[in-house]
C-alpha cells in the first residue's frame, strides 16, 4: 500500500519506556476499611439499606443505587470459598514451578480476593470455610497485604 520503498537496513524498531508512576490514596471508605484491618485486625463492610446489600470491602457508595453508605459492620474474618484457582504464572508472566492458590472468600455480599495457603494434604473446594490470617500488628502498614493470606478452616 506504499509507493515508497522500504529500506531493509533501516532501524526496524524504536524502543522506549512509557513512564507511568503513581501514588494512590485509599479513598474515604478505603481509609477506614484498611485502618481497621491495620489497627484492629477487623474486616468491615458497609450496608446499603435500600438494596439490603453488605459491601465488603466497605464501600462509600452502593454501586446499584448510588446511596451513600454509612452503616459500618464487622463481618468477621471467616467466609466461604466462592471460587479458587491454582495459578502457574507469576505477576510478570514467568512460569512458576509450584502453583499458588488464589481464592475469593465470601463475606457479606462481597468478600476478599487473596492467596490461600494449603497445609500438606489439604485440598480446597468451593463451599469450604476459610479464615483470614493477619500479619503481626507491628508489621501491618494499612494494606491488603496486612492480611498475610487465608487458610482453610477445617471442622
Amino acid at each position: 500500500m506504499s509507493l515508497m520503498e522500504r529500506d531493509p537496513n533501516a532501524p526496524s524498531v524504536w524502543r522506549g519506556e512509557m513512564q507511568v508512576t503513581n501514588r494512590y490514596t485509599f479513598g474515604i471508605a478505603g481509609e477506614r476499611f484498611f485502618r481497621s484491618i491495620k489497627n484492629e485486625g477487623r474486616i468491615l463492610g458497609t450496608h446499603c439499606k435500600s438494596c439490603d446489600r453488605m459491601y465488603v470491602p466497605a464501600a462509600a457508595f452502593c454501586e446499584r443505587c448510588l446511596s451513600q453508605l454509612d452503616e459500618w459492620v464487622d463481618v468477621g474474618i471467616v467466609g466461604e470459598v466462592v471460587t479458587f484457582t491454582h495459578l502457574y504464572v507469576n505477576f510478570d508472566g514467568s512460569r512458576r514451578q509450584e502453583p499458588e492458590t488464589i481464592v475469593f472468600i465470601k463475606m457479606g455480599d462481597g468478600g476478599i480476593i487473596h492467596r490461600l495457603i494449603l497445609n500438606d494434604n489439604e485440598h480446597v473446594s468451593i463451599g469450604m470455610q476459610a479464615q483470614a490470617v493477619f500479619k503481626p500488628p507491628a508489621e501491618r502498614e494499612g494494606s491488603i497485604l496486612d492480611i498475610s493470606h487465608f487458610e482453610l478452616l477445617l471442622n
Binding site: 515508497m4 522500504r6 524498531v13 519506556e17 512509557m18
Partner: protein, 170 residues
C-alpha cells in the same frame, strides 16, 4: 447555583498529609517497555538521520512536501509519491525558553525548544527540536538555523542524531 446544592463534596489533602501518613497511600509503577515498529516511513527517516540527512515525503497531487515522512498523504488520502531529502537548514517558526523540568523543578539555563520550518519542505512544515550555540535572549522567530549533527560514528538512527539547531549567517 442550583438551590438544591448546599455542600460541594471533595476532601482536599496537602502533600504533607500524605507524606506523614495522615491518610493511607500506596505507590506503584507500570512496567512500560515498548518496541514500536518503525515501519516504512519512519524507518527510512531514522536511517536518513543516521546518514546525516533529514527526509521528508512528497505528495505530487497536493504539491506538498512534509516532514517527518509518511506513506499516506493526510489531505488527499493517496499514497505519498516518494521520500525527499530536505536541507538541514531552516527557519525558527516559534520557540520557547523553558526554565522548568517536566516535574516543574527550576533550571538555571533555559531549554530552548523550537519548531523549525525546514528548507525543502512546504511552508510551515517543520519539526520539533532544540536550539543551541545561541544566547537564549537573542533567539527570534524567523531566525535562520542549521542542524548540528552528532559525529557520524555516534549516530544511531534517532532524532537525537541532531544535537540541536544553531543560528547561521546568510
Amino acid at each position: 447555583m442550583s438551590d438544591k446544592i448546599s455542600n460541594y463534596p471533595g476532601t482536599s489533602l496537602s502533600e504533607k498529609d500524605i507524606r506523614d501518613g495522615k491518610v493511607l497511600s500506596i505507590h506503584d509503577e507500570m512496567p512500560g517497555g515498548f518496541a514500536w515498529d518503525t515501519g516504512i516511513a519512519i524507518g527510512r527517516y531514522l536511517a536518513g538521520l543516521r546518514e546525516g540527512m533529514i527526509l521528508g515525503s512528497t505528495c505530487v497531487h497536493c504539491r506538498k512536501t512534509v516532514v517527518p515522512p509518511r506513506t499516506v498523504c493526510e489531505w488527499c488520502f493517496r499514497p505519498m509519491d516518494d521520500f525527499v531529502p530536505l536541507q538541514d537548514t531552516g527557519t525558527v517558526n516559534t520557540y520557547s525558553l523553558c526554565y522548568v523540568t517536566w516535574d516543574v523543578k527550576r533550571i538555571k539555563e533555559p531549554e530552548t525548544p523550537a519548531v523549525i520550518d525546514l528548507d525543502g519542505a512546504s511552508p510551515l512544515h517543520g519539526i520539533l527540536h532544540k536550539l543551541g550555540d545561541v544566547d537564549p535572549q537573542q533567539i527570534a522567530i524567523g531566525m535562520r538555523v542549521q542542524a548540528v549533527w552528532k559525529p557520524e560514528n555516534e549516530r544511531e538512527g534517532a532524532i537525537t542524531d541532531i544535537l540541536y539547531f544553531k543560528p547561521i549567517e546568510e
